[in-house]
C-alpha cells in the first residue's frame, strides 16, 4: 500500500526543509532562548545565595545594634549615678558651709552680747559706786541725834533715792 512506502519526492523535500529549519534555528533561534534559560537559572541561584548572605548580615547587624544599645544604657546609668552622687556631695558641702556661716554669726552675736553685758555691768557698778558715795556724803553731812532718828533718816534718803532713780 502506498501509505506505507515513503514517497521519494516528499522524502527529499523533507530532508532539505528539515535540514534548513535545523540550521536556521541552531544558528538564530535556540541558543538565545536556552542561553537565557541557563542564565536565568544561574541568576536565580545567585539571587538565593545573595539573599541568604544578606539575611546573615542583617542578623549580625541586629546583634551589633543590640550590643551597642546595651552598652549605651549601661553608660547612661553610670553617668546618672555619678550625677546623683555629685549632687548629694554638693548639697552636703553647701549645708556644711551654711552651718559654719551660721555658727560664725551666732558666735559674733554672742560675743557682742557678752561685751554689751560687760558694759552694762560696768555701768551698774559705776552707778552703785556713785550712789554709795552720795549716800555716804549725806550721812556724813547731817548730825544725827538718836539712833531712831538716824535710821528714819537713812530710810527716807533711800526712799528718795529710789524715787529719784525711778
Amino acid at each position: 500500500m502506498s501509505l506505507l512506502i515513503p514517497d521519494s519526492g516528499l522524502f527529499i523535500w523533507m530532508l532539505v526543509a528539515f535540514a534548513a529549519v535545523l540550521f536556521v534555528l541552531t544558528k538564530f533561534g535556540w541558543p538565545a532562548i536556552t542561553g537565557m534559560l541557563d542564565e536565568r537559572a544561574r541568576f536565580i541561584d545567585e539571587g538565593v545565595a545573595k539573599a541568604k548572605e544578606a539575611g546573615e548580615k542583617l542578623e549580625k547587624v541586629q546583634e551589633d545594634t543590640a550590643r551597642l544599645m546595651h552598652e549605651a544604657q549601661e553608660q547612661q546609668s553610670r553617668i546618672l549615678d555619678e550625677a546623683a552622687r555629685m549632687r548629694q556631695d554638693i548639697i552636703a558641702k553647701a549645708r556644711g558651709e551654711a552651718a559654719a556661716a551660721a555658727q560664725k554669726v551666732m558666735d559674733e552675736a554672742r560675743k557682742q552680747i557678752e561685751t554689751e553685758k560687760e558694759d552694762a555691768v560696768r555701768d551698774i557698778r559705776r552707778q552703785v559706786g556713785l550712789l554709795s558715795v552720795e549716800i555716804a556724803e549725806k550721812v556724813l553731812r547731817r548730825n544725827l541725834s538718836t539712833d531712831q532718828a538716824q535710821m528714819d533718816y537713812i530710810n527716807r534718803l533711800l526712799d528718795e533715792k529710789e524715787k529719784e532713780s525711778i
Binding site: S2, L3, L4, I5, P6, D7, S8, G9, L10, F11, I12, W13, M14, L15, A17, F18, A20, V21, L22, V24, L25, T26, F28, G29, W30, P31, A32, I33, T34, G35, M36, L37, E39, R40, R42, F43
Partner: protein, 325 residues
Amino acid sequence: MKGQQDLDVTAMIFDHVGDSYYWHLTDVGGTPVAIPLPVLVFSEHTGWHCFSSARFHHGHEACEGLAIAPKESPNAGKIIEVATGERPALDCSVTKNAAGLLIASVLLCLMIVGAARWYKKRDVTAAAPKGFIGSVEMLVNFVYEDIIKANIPTHTARYTPYLLTVFFFIFLTNLLGLIPGSANLTGNIAVTVTLALFTFVITNIFGTKAYWQEVFWNPELPAWLRPLMAVIEFISLFTKPFSLTIRLFANILAGHCALIGVLSVIFITATTMPGAGNGMMSVVSVLLAVFLDFLELLVAFIQAFVFTMLSSIYIGLSQAHHEHE
C-alpha cells in the same frame, strides 16, 4: 446529488490522509475547487519537466508525456510516464504535503527566530515574557529541562538544538494537520522516516567507545551471552528508528482516519436511514468528532513529546561511559 450517494468512504479517507498534486479545498456542484501546485519531474527518457498541475485538468489530461495514474493502476494517483506506464526516475513535485511542509518550516522559523529576537534584546534581569513568547519559553523550558538535560547529562549543548527543533517541528505540524483541508504531514511516512533518520545518524555518529562496546561485546554480560546479545543489539540499532517512524506516523494517521470515519457517518446514514435517523446520527457523529478533535490535540503534544523523549534517551545511551572513566 445522485452521484454522491454511492459514497466510497475508504476512498474519501485515503484522499484526505494521502498526498496529492493539488491542494483540494472543496467541491462545488461536482467540480473540485483546488489550488494547483508545481510539478517537478525528471524522466530518464525526456529530461526535466516543470509545469503547473492545473495542466493535468484533475487527472483527465496528459501533459508533456506525463499523466496522473488512474485508480486501477498500482501507481494510483501518482505521476506516470504515458509512454511506459512507469513512474519517472525522480518526482520532486511540490505536492500538497511538500507545500504544507514548506509552509510549516517557514512558520516554525519565523516563530522561533521571532521569539529569539525578544531574548537577544534583553538581559537576564528582564521579567519573563508573556503571551506567545511566554508559551514558547514554557515549552522550550519543559523540553530542555525535563527531557534533554534529564536524559543527556554530557555534551548537552551539542544535542539541544536538534531535539528542540524535532519537538517543535512535530508539535507544530501535528497541530497544523488538525486544521481541516491542511496537509497531513506527520501522518506521512516519508516525513516521519526522515525525522527518525536524523535521530539515527545523530545518535550513532557521536556514539562513545563504551556505547559501541555495549552493543557488540557487552562486558557486563557472561561471555557465552555476548555474541547473542551482539546480534540483538545490532538489530535494535535499526528497530529504534523504525519504531520512531511507525509510532508517529501510525498515531497521527489513525487519528485522522478515525475523525474522517466518524464524520462520514453523516453521509452514510443519509442514504441508509433518511429522515430522523440521519439527523440523530449526525448530532452523535459531530459530538464524537469534537471529542476526537480534542483527543487529537492531546495526541499532537504527546507524540511530539514521545518522539523527543525517545530520541534523547537513545542519544543519552550513545553517550555512555564506563564507571572507571
